[in-house]
C-alpha cells in the first residue's frame, strides 16, 4: 500500500526484502513484543544489514499507517512500541474491569455516620469513631458531592453541620434515606453485648 512511497536509494542494502516486507516484519515484531524494541533489536530481524536511517524511515511510515487506528506506534525511552490510544481505554476497561478504587475505612465510616445520624458535626463523628477525623476525609466526601455543610450548631465554636445530599442518594440508588439498611437489622449481625443492649430504640413514631 505505502510501498511506493519508500524511496530507498538504488544502492539500498535491503537485499532480498522489499520495503513493504520489511515493514510487515517490523509491524509483526512490534505487535508481539511486550517490551519496547530499540533499533538495535529491530535490526536483528533481518538477514541483511539495514541502516538505522532506513529503519527509522520505515518505522515513521508504519506510524503513519496506524494513524487512524485505536493503537499507535510510539517511540519511548526503550525503543519503539505499539500502545493503545487514550480514548480506547474506556472501552478496554469494560473488558478488564480493574479493581475499582476503594475508600478508606475512615471515609466509609464517616459517610455512614453522616448518613445515619445527620446532621452531625465533625465532633459528633469523632465522638462516634473514637478518633479524630482528618480534613481530607470530609473533603473527599464533599468533593464527591455526597455530603454538604448545611449549617452550624449553635454551640461554642459554631461547628459545621454535615448532611448527605441528593447526589448521595442518587449515586447509591436510593430513593430516600429510609432505604438505608435499618440499624436494628445491623444490630443483629453482631454479638449482643451489654453495650448493644443500651442501643434499643425509641418505639417507632
Amino acid at each position: 500500500m505505502s510501498d511506493p512511497s519508500v524511496s530507498l536509494p538504488p544502492s539500498s542494502s535491503t537485499g532480498s526484502s522489499s520495503p513493504g516486507e520489511i515493514k510487515r516484519i517490523l509491524e509483526t515484531a512490534l505487535l508481539t513484543s511486550q517490551e519496547p524494541l530499540p533499533l538495535s533489536e529491530l535490526k536483528k530481524l533481518f538477514d541483511e544489514e539495514l541502516g538505522a536511517d532506513i529503519l527509522r524511515r520505515l518505522l515513521e511510515e508504519l506510524r503513519e499507517d496506524w494513524d487512524d487506528k485505536g493503537v499507535e506506534l510510539v517511540k519511548v525511552a526503550g525503543g519503539w512500541r505499539f500502545h493503545t490510544r487514550p480514548e480506547m481505554q474506556k472501552f478496554l476497561d469494560r473488558l478488564n474491569p480493574q479493581k475499582p478504587p476503594r475508600y478508606s475505612r475512615a471515609v466509609l465510616e464517616t459517610l455512614a455516620i453522616i448518613a445515619y445520624r445527620q446532621p452531625v458535626t465533625r465532633g459528633d463523628i469523632e465522638e462516634i469513631r473514637g478518633v479524630a477525623v482528618s480534613g481530607p476525609v470530609l473533603k473527599a466526601l464533599e468533593s464527591r458531592g455526597w455530603i454538604s455543610a448545611i449549617g452550624h450548631r449553635d454551640v461554642p465554636g459554631r461547628p459545621v453541620l454535615y448532611a448527605t445530599t441528593t447526589d448521595f442518594l442518587n449515586d447509591l440508588n436510593l430513593r430516600s434515606l429510609d432505604e438505608l439498611p435499618p440499624l436494628e437489622e445491623l444490630g443483629t449481625l453482631l454479638e449482643p453485648s451489654e453495650n448493644m443492649g443500651s442501643m434499643e430504640l425509641l418505639p417507632s413514631p
Partner: protein, 269 residues
Amino acid sequence: MNDFLYPAIERPVARIHGEPLRELPRDLYIPPDALEVFLDTFQGPLDLLLYLIRKHNLDVLDIPMAELTRQYMAYVEMMRTNQLELAAEYLLMAAMLIEIKSRMLLPRPVNRDEEEGDPRAELVRRLLEYEQMKLAAQRLNELPQAERDFGLMQVWIDQAVIKRLPDVDMDDLRSAWLALMARSQANRRHRITREQLSVRSHMSRILRHLHGHKFVEFDELFNPTAGVAEMVVTFLALLELVRENQVEVAQSHAFGIIYVRSIGFLAAV
C-alpha cells in the same frame, strides 16, 4: 516422523570408547555403557515390543512369540545387570510374553469360546492402541503451537490517568456501621444510641428548608399529603432540632403563626 518415533535410529545411540554407535546391533546386544541411552529412547516395554515388531517387519497379528520373547529377554537381561529399578515394567512384560508363549504351547481346547481366542490377542490390542496414541502424539506435536510456531499480540494498553472514583454501595455503609458498632463495644466510652433514621433525615430536611430564609412558617415544614407518620416524624425532627439548639420556634401570641428560625445559620451559603 522417524525422528519422533525412533530418535535412536537417527542419532548416535551411544558413544562407546568415543565411537558413535549409530545403529542398534541387530541381535539387540547392547553394550552396557549404552544401555541407559538406549533405555531413554523407549517409552516402556510396549514401545520396545512395538519397535521389535516394526523393525523386523513382523505381522502384529501373527507375532512369532518365541523369537520375540527371546529378543526381548536378551534386552531385559542387559537391563537387570545395572538398572533393575527401571526394569520392573519390562520384567512384567517379559512375564506376560512368556505366559502367552506357554499358553500357545498348550493344546487348544476343542470347544473354545470366542473370548478364549489367540492368547496374543490382548497383547496385539494393547500394542495397536499404544501405537495409535503414539502416532496421535506425533501429529499433535506437529500442529502449530502458540509461542513455538506463532506469536500472540502483546500491544501495551496505555493506562491514561483517568481518575476513577470509588463506588460505595449500601453494603459498604452497612459494614462501616458494623465496624463502628464493633469498636464501640470494645470502647464503651463511645456509646452509640440508635435513633430513628427518618427523624434524622427530616432534621436535615428542615435545616435545608430553613436555609436562606429568616423565618419559615411552622406549617410550611409539614406536608399534609405525606401521611400521618411523616408528619409525626417531621414534628419529632423539629423537637430534636430545638433540643439540639439548632432551631428556634416562636409564637408571638396565642394561636398566632408559629415561626421557625435556624439558629446556627450558615452565613456563607
